[in-house]
């Protein structure tokens, strides 16, 4: 395996690495941002604490991936606060808003995302870009809890007729957005990501593995996928995120996130913690 030296990336290599990092970082940031909407409003105090922690985990992961982009010359301001929201690469699954009280959405979304996250992190463990590979284990160390959390909630809510109905409604709505997780940012760049070994497996491959996990589990709790698994691309939503097309909700969300930064005329972001290290 050839290691890509981050200081010495060719133009195409650099583009491929950047696209991959934007996929990872933007997904984690935006989903975490949505998760924090549940802080103070989750069903119970205990579930509030747990979801807040998951949100912080995901933000921490976003921080790790954005940090690698910072090493490629971008500042946090450029990556988040001053970036045109129309340039973000996250899947639309991360950005669609929660309806008030729709905990079924939080649970289903978390499950669909966390399983996909596990598949893609596995495929990054032996990335040709060593600094990506190095950070995977830290991230995976926290993802196990997320998947177990989602599965446990699904099992318990699905045991209740009203709960199962709400989960199914959430699944019907979210599933097309979940498929966007496996869309390319750009066909040519995606070929490079796999061809250069930055990610060892292609998106179709990851999607199949994901489906092979989520379908039987969801069926086992009495939920059905709202699509023909043999033709998943058929069910993509209008905006797929990866190609920078987004729902209006994302633009509103970015506007809120950057409100203080703009209002105070900031040009830099405050660091509290040390820069992440490579181990």
């Amino acid at each position: 395996m050839t290691a890509l030296d981050p200081d010495d990336l060719s133009g195409d290599e650099r583009t491929a690495v950047e696209h991959l990092l934007y996929r990872l970082a933007d997904d984690e940031l935006v989903l975490a941002e949505r998760y924090t909407e549940w802080q103070v409003t989750a069903p119970t105090l205990e579930s509030d604490l747990a979801l807040a922690n998951i949100a912080q985990d995901e933000l921490g992961h976003a921080r790790l991936w954005y940090d690698l982009l910072q090493d490629l010359g971008y500042s946090e301001s450029e990556l988040i606060y001053e970036r045109d929201p129309g340039e973000f690469r996250h899947a639309t699954l991360a950005e669609v808003p929660f309806e008030e009280g729709d905990w079924a959405d939080a649970v289903v979304r978390g499950y669909l995302y966390d399983v996909a996250e596990n598949c893609r992190l596995e495929a990054l463990e032996n990335s040709a870009h060593p600094r990506i590979a190095n950070r995977v284990s830290k991230v995976r160390g926290e993802e196990e809890y997320h998947r177990e959390h989602a599965r446990n909630w699904l099992e318990r809510l699905a045991g209740d007729e009203d709960g199962r109905r709400r989960l199914q409604t959430a699944l019907d709505r979210l599933f097309p957005h979940a498929l966007t997780l496996f869309e390319p940012t750009d066909e040519t760049v995606e070929d490079d990501i796999v061809g250069m070994g930055i990610r060892r497996r292609g998106l179709d491959d990851l999607r199949e593995e994901w489906l092979a996990t989520v379908e039987p589990f969801l069926e086992s709790v009495g939920l059905r996928l709202p699509m023909d698994p043999d033709d998943p691309a058929d069910r993509l939503p209008d905006a797929v995120g990866r190609d920078r097309s987004h729902t209006d909700d994302w633009f509103d969300l970015h506007d809120e996130m950057t409100h203080t930064y703009r209002e105070l005329g900031r040009t830099e972001t405050t660091r509290i913690m040390d820069k992440p290290t490579d181990e």
Binding site: D57, G60, R63, K138, E142, Y145, I272, M273, D274
Partner: protein, 106 residues
């Protein structure tokens, strides 16, 4: 059956695990625990809990406190401001420092 025993040394302190006893029911567990775990060590109160009712999660399966940097949760991280201006803030920080040291020892 086996009963886990928790001892509190003085009023107001915490009940901490100190051992267990074999006993056929709660009453007998309390009888035995008094003697086995309370006869010499200072004891203000004992709890007995059926062992099978105790759920456990340990470091085999859990990453307590996470695997990424969460220093934003700790008072020590904010080095640009002091904790000593108020006794209770300083004390909180000392307790956090102690907890972090213990975590680091694992």
């Amino acid at each position: 059956m086996i009963w886990e025993v928790f001892r509190q040394e003085k009023t107001g302190e915490y009940h901490t695990h100190c051992g267990n006893v074999h006993a056929p029911d709660r009453e007998m567990a309390k009888m035995f625990a008094q003697i086995q775990h309370g006869r010499r060590k200072p004891t203000n109160s004992l709890w007995v809990v059926p062992q099978e009712e105790v759920g456990e999660v340990d470091t085999e399966e859990a990453r307590f406190g996470g695997t990424t940097d969460k220093s934003y949760r700790w008072a020590m991280t904010y080095q640009g401001v002091d904790a000593d201006f108020a006794e209770e803030v300083a004390e909180s920080q000392q307790e956090q420092e102690a907890a972090e040291r213990q975590r680091g020892d694992d």
